[in-house]
Symmetry: C2
Subunit: 281 residues, 2 copies
């Protein structure tokens, strides 16, 4: 059996790579990409079987760029995965916690560990990437520095884990989406175990969004996410991204979407896929 | 008359400073702050008369962090301003366009000028800040480099403008909010010339958002913006941020908000303020 090859954004050891390794069944290989655009291109051009992208963090909110990329590329969401974001404090082997004077990481990781970093009384330095800050630490062989990155980055760059949970808030999850050239397809008997992601635009009239949400409310369909994004070049018209509980092949979901298309000016299904039930639910 | 003192995030020459200088009436002075948090703190502690923060860009979407900060600080939105984002290519005096090999700026500014930069055939380098990249250019006295930043940054750092509109898309506007310790208050006769910004949460039930939007739709009140944000520590419950056309002291708006509070679990008015009509509207 050929291994799956999964494109992800970032350097080896990035949280996206960790999500790919936890989500996809073995055997699986991963391919680091410089940008989210490259993730989409690699899958579209059949160089990778799947892509994995972060779409939403429980503390920081949505990764909006990836909504735009889904709109502009013909890939399908085939799955979702909630990764517990666990920022580890990494250092060169043999370095002690009290030797650490400065901590490097991405600004968001630094912000999510602010209280614990203050307790350590260290300086902080912003870097482009969490895994990249781990790699730089190894390359510079700096014994007075540490990096905040994933457990996976410690393996990849031969670093030791000084503290294994530096994040101030344990309710730190990132939702990842698995992307493929072909849609997910299956007979199913329980539509509550599925989610469907759609994107649409409406005439810019009072009450338009109210009517759009009505097609779900009238059928007792649970919305799990709503997001509005400006349409570039057409300020301030919006694209609406909605996730709802339901499978697109089921009658109730299909009727809601048929009804919705009576009032949309643009409409597309991004994917209909098995729901990941998080441990904290 | 004492000048107004306006707190903004970023270095001297940042787009936020330019927005402050264009929005507030003379005489006005500006105070650079290291973070958005500091902007809020300076106003709350009466060190500044007002703050100005970016909240939404027509291409890139919302600045989510600032929604969270508005929720957690007792300041009032007293005005809005749409700034046309005009990225200038800046260099040391005497440097010619053909000498430029590398362009420094914030990743978002670089992305918004991607096509024009490709045409120049230059390398790009990501920096923390647009105005900061202009300052670094001056400090390093690098005659083979340029920075993408505001026209204001050229004045502040003594740089020349090589190209005055590097952005690929001219529909690039950032909406700024003016903040104050006291709410805006005025007798008004035309509620269409006002906006009101609110934040609320709902029971996590199917149809809850539909009901909430109904209080506006039933009264023909136009929503100009809707945004959902996760509530930290309570994944995936959401706060909803809505802007609508109307003044809070008018009967129609007041009734809609009274009605809304029958179904919200949390509710706050962030501000009710004169609307800025953009030129492209």
């Amino acid at each position: 059996m050929n291994p799956l090859l999964i494109a992800f954004q970032g350097e080896a050891g990035a949280y996206s790579e960790l999500a790919a390794l936890e989500y996809f069944p073995e055997p699986v290989q991963t391919l680091p990409c410089r940008s989210f655009d490259e993730v989409f291109e690699r899958v579209l051009h059949q160089e990778c079987s799947h892509g994995i992208i972060p779409i939403e963090n429980s503390l920081a909110g949505s990764i909006h760029r990836n909504y735009d990329l889904m709109l502009h590329h013909e890939l399908h969401i085939v799955g979702e995965y909630y990764l517990r974001v666990n920022h580890c404090l990494l250092a060169l082997p043999g370095v002690k916690l009290e030797d650490v004077r400065i901590v490097h990481s991405h600004p968001q990781a630094l912000a999510q560990c602010e209280q614990n970093l203050n307790r350590l009384g260290v300086e902080i330095a912003s870097e482009y990437d969490t895994a990249g800050s781990a790699r730089l630490l190894r390359d510079r062989a700096d014994r007075r520095a540490a990096a905040l990155a994933s457990r996976r980055a410690a393996e990849v760059y031969g670093l030791q884990i000084l503290v294994d949970a530096m994040e101030d808030n344990r309710q730190n999850f990132t939702r990842f989406l698995a992307l493929s050239r072909t849609p997910f397809s299956r007979q199913t008997s329980d539509e509550r175990e599925f989610k469907t992601s759609i994107v649409f635009s409406l005439d810019n009239k009072p009450g338009a969004l109210f009517k759009a949400l009505g097609v779900f409310a009238l059928r007792d369909i649970d919305l799990t996410k709503i997001e509005s994004r400006p349409i570039p070049g057409s300020p301030w018209d919006y694209m609406f991204y909605i996730d709802f509980a339901g499978y697109i092949a089921e009658t109730n979901s299909r009727r809601a979407l048929d009804n919705l298309q009576e009032i949309t000016t643009f409409f597309r299904v991004l994917g209909s896929y098995p729901r990941h039930r998080m441990k904290f639910e």
